[in-house]
Symmetry: C2
């Protein structure tokens, strides 16, 4: 048996959020069921943000409720603030993810708050959640951890500082996010090491974008540093707000292909995963789906690590 | 100054060979000049194969002659046999590359010879070339070194055996080629290490395809093992004969972006490289050009390693 690597599918949140059309709720639920059926045990199913801002996420409450019925699935939702976290709790999410931009400029542009003000919001969320009856995990995402379209380079020391503040605020896990896809493998290795030195295993996973074509190589760099969980999106759904037409999240199918080929056990059935693309395409008929393994076909040399 | 990594552009050979239309000779020469002008010092400009088999390469003699006039450029040509090597010599190539399939099935299908019979042809070429007045390098490419569309998995021991035989035959350099793009980073590391143990620095470079989306990650794996030269093609030109529509060679622009971002000095001007795409597109108007950096735009965080 290969060592386990977890994949958190973020297509229904980070992917759909960037799409120009809105996927019908029933198709979303069918898609999430198919993803879970393929062996994905963590899915970011939506975002509790104002529907006026992101209408694609208006049905997140209903999606969370339906997803809870799927056995063995960790249902995650993005929340921008305490109010969002309360709604995630109310609808029964297993995990609330709060993004905190490491870049001060990006943080202010997106939340009207500086990075450390947003960490204070995270602390308030953790305290509120811990006071409730039912447990809900609280994870924080360090957005723009590898570069920012507003500020440019983001100093590694600042990533470490924000991660340390988030760990101190009591989050369960930290995600380092290459929000705009500027990162390179040397940088991923260096930043991951530095954050691990500061917060240890609280650094749980990487959220990588393929904007510059380095997404899978950056995942490999993280893997080399001991990271065993990655966000990705089926068909590479998503994009980059500053670069229309650019690639989005790393492609789940290609990532699974790499990991299983390398002997890591993802628990995911690649054929079933590829079949789930049909539902995605039906829900977003105009979307151009990405992914190399699908274009080329699974080669005869492929064997699942767990088999 | 960053450590030097060499890039050998194979678009004019491996890329054009797979295209459905034929690039006019004058555009080819203009394209090769632009690639050299962007700082690429090694270009595989064509292939001395029968024009009946690969009409795209019919003008290779003329292309080699014109490329020789470009200062500082190593002009490489693929040759399938001694006759091809003699033509490469006659037209003034600096380097002849002979492919030898590690997979016996692939070798027989492509050359009507087994792998070791083809190594014997390489030995004859080395002997003939060494007896000439002018020096010409003789490199050998271990094709299907990471998997084969005919035989499936290719045992690592067999790659080592063929590489050892090629080193013994006296070639200047060995290239390990993931001809069909089945390789994964763990395999690249393992095979590179094993071949290095056997032939040392005679293992010069990797030729990687992005069929499954792992091309750049596989380059990173090679880089980690000390490989400092990579084949790639502008706009990811090329393809995979067994998978119509699949991605071709790794994209030169994206590879340069990764290497320079990591602090390696390629000597290549990324802007000038991207401008060379216009000539390529003019020469092949129907070709769909790949490349993430071009789609997203070079980010403001990018600085050349050598600068």
């Amino acid at each position: 048996m290969g060592e386990r690597v977890r994949i958190c599918e973020v297509g229904p949140r980070d992917g759909l959020q960037m799409s120009t059309s809105i996927m019908p709720t029933d198709v979303k639920i069918e898609w999430i069921r198919a993803l879970a059926g393929a062996g994905i045990h963590e899915i970011e199913v939506g975002s509790f943000v104002p529907p006026k801002l992101i209408p694609q996420m208006a049905d997140t409450g209903e999606i969370v409720r339906a997803s809870r019925a799927i056995p063995g699935l960790t249902v995650a939702a993005l929340v921008p603030n305490l109010k969002g976290a309360q709604r995630a709790y109310e609808f029964g999410a297993d995990l609330a993810l709060i993004p905190v931009s490491v870049s001060e400029g990006h943080s202010c542009a997106n939340t009207n708050k500086g990075s450390l003000e947003q960490v204070a919001e995270v602390r308030a969320i953790v305290e509120w959640v811990r006071a409730q009856e039912r447990p809900m995990k609280v994870d924080a995402g360090c957005a723009t951890a590898f570069g920012c379209s507003i500020e440019g380079a983001v100093p590694q020391d600042r990533v470490v500082m924000v991660a340390a503040a988030l760990a101190d605020a009591g989050v369960d896990n930290i995600v380092l996010a290459d929000t705009v896809g500027y990162g390179n493998p040397a940088q991923v290795r260096s930043v991951v090491r530095a954050v691990q030195r500061e917060v240890g295993e609280t650094l749980d996973r990487l959220h990588l974008h393929d904007t510059m074509g380095l997404g899978i190589a950056n995942a490999l760099a993280g893997l080399d540093e001991g990271i065993r969980c990655f966000d990705s999106a089926l068909a590479g759904l998503g994009g980059c707000p500053f670069a229309p037409g650019a690639s989005g999240n790393i492609v789940t199918e290609d990532l699974v292909f790499m990991l299983e080929s390398m002997g890591f056990d993802t628990g995911i059935d690649l054929d079933a995963l590829i079949r789930a693309r049909e539902i995605l395409q039906r829900g977003l008929p105009d979307e151009h789906l990405l992914g190399n393994v699908v274009k080329a076909g699974i080669p005869r040399t492929y064997h699942r690590a767990a088999a």
